[in-house]
Subunit: 307 residues, 2 copies
């Protein structure tokens, strides 16, 4: 199937996953997991976030984690930043790929960053002014499909917010994020179709999906068919769902890699090595994990050992 | 979204699920679960199988379960039969919708029914000769995508077997079954596209999917886009995976209902009632279950209660 374009995975476990774990994960263990994810073939990792250490003590070691990740040849480490001020800190620590996040839902944006979405657009413009020429930019549009409080988002509202953001710069990769896992494949197709048509100059499109309602793979498939080639995922599904405690959150990286590779779509990632990392991640104290492929492949190993 | 055709769910938990549970489930409890599935809106249920009670003691109460299911107004109870002789027993017990099963994989068919696939085609022809005019027929083609031992099946071999089966009669609904969960969306699309084009006279097409590798919903979506409108699923994902102990098996009915309803595709099933049944099913001693929507919705209930 050589006619099929490859996709890229952005592993978000070390940021989106770790930040949901309450007990502090020793910095050396974080770095070890990042190095093993790298060894599995992953070349884009959201490694940490520069935020207030008081608000998010788990990521207080952001500078050390970033420095270790930046030392891995060929790795593109992303750093999440919610404001221009935190972007400045990240840049000073050596970050060269910033991921800025804001939400379509006013309720969610205020909960997350204490600003209206419009104020976050202004913040994004300020961030852009301090971005060095050699730095890359990812824009994460949270609650692009559904808000935990407000429910389904209107495509028109998402597109109107994107109008403002793309006007600031089309030179960012834009991720539409299913924050709650309640997006459905039809909605994912429809929104990406509309966005890709409306903003032809955008650098690239990504999908950030959750598996809370079992649609992690199906929604990624819909995004792929709409032309998306970059997918966020978290090894072992680490992260849970803050809006549905006990349920799963981020789609598991190994599940997406399994699906795409089975379809003949290259990811350049070794799923067996990835599952080996996932088995370690589920052992982290306080980890809420998900995914299917880990169980399927480790059960297979158990059978083979027993046979 | 009134332009979207509805789909039908065939609930297979009372056969495919129950048969994987070792401790005998009391007949009254089986019937209670079937009645509650019916109350959720499900109108097609594979309620049991007529097989050797020595081989499958869990289903030794097939006649009693069938009689109770047949008393529910508007319910279409399917009964699985592997041979014409067992079909005769099922018909004598009042069955009017038989599901005949055979495998594309010779290894799997011999393991399952101790025959070659060609011998099962002959058996299917014998079954057809005794089928009353008022009875319906479902044909389940197992390992249509992948065999636990032989790996990926060739589309050409599946189509060649279908040639023989459709020659016996095109008047059956044919389910292509992903027995191991290792089918991928591209393969599902490709095989259904080819089969539907090659056999235009077949009464209908169904997809029987597993979620072992997280692709239960994605594969169902691919089948739906290929024109399939009937989907097998097991409430709570009951059934596990005999080829990967500890992993999930059948795709959970509530996950498929959630996906299709969210897409605006009517199933006529109440997902909240279905989740309530699923919560009972996971309590069955020896049950191996899966699915995501059950956890997501019950977690939501817990949050609301806590708030």
């Amino acid at each position: 199937m050589t006619d099929i374009s490859p996709i890229q995975i952005v592993e978000v476990g070390p940021r989106d996953g770790f930040q949901s774990v309450a007990p502090f994960i020793p910095t050396a263990r974080k770095i070890d997991i990042i190095e093993r994810l790298y060894t599995s073939g992953i070349r884009r990792i959201e490694v940490t976030s520069f935020v207030s250490a008081a608000a998010l003590p788990q990521l207080a070691d952001a500078a050390d984690v970033l420095a270790a990740a930046a030392a891995l040849p060929g790795l593109d480490p992303h750093v999440l930043v919610p404001t221009a001020r935190h972007a400045q800190s990240a840049l000073e620590a050596g970050a060269r790929h910033l991921a800025f996040v804001l939400s379509v839902s006013e309720w969610h944006n205020r909960s997350n960053v204490r600003r209206s979405p419009e104020e976050s657009v202004d913040e994004y413009a300020r961030l852009l002014q301090i971005l060095p020429a050699d730095a890359k930019l990812r824009l994460n549009v949270a609650t692009a499909f559904d808000c935990p409080t407000l429910g389904t988002m209107n495509d028109a509202d998402v597109l109107a917010l994107l109008d403002k953001l793309v006007a600031v710069t089309p030179q960012a990769e834009i991720a539409l994020c299913d924050t709650t896992g309640r997006a459905n494949p039809r909605q994912v197709s429809r929104l990406f179709d509309a966005a890709i048509e409306r903003f032809p100059d955008v650098a690239g499109w990504a999908f950030h999906g959750h598996d809370t309602y079992g649609l992690g793979s199906a929604n990624a498939l819909a995004a792929y068919h709409a032309g998306v080639s970059v997918f966020d995922a978290s090894c072992a599904g680490l992260g849970g769902c803050p809006f549905a405690p006990g349920a799963t959150g981020n789609v598991a990286t190994e599940d997406l890699v399994w699906m795409f590779e089975a379809m003949g779509v290259s990811t350049d990632i070794d799923v067996a090595k990835l599952v080996s990392v996932a088995q370690d991640i589920v052992e982290l104290p306080g980890a809420q994990t998900g995914g299917r492929v880990r169980d399927a492949l480790t059960a297979k190993t158990r059978c083979e050992v027993a046979a």
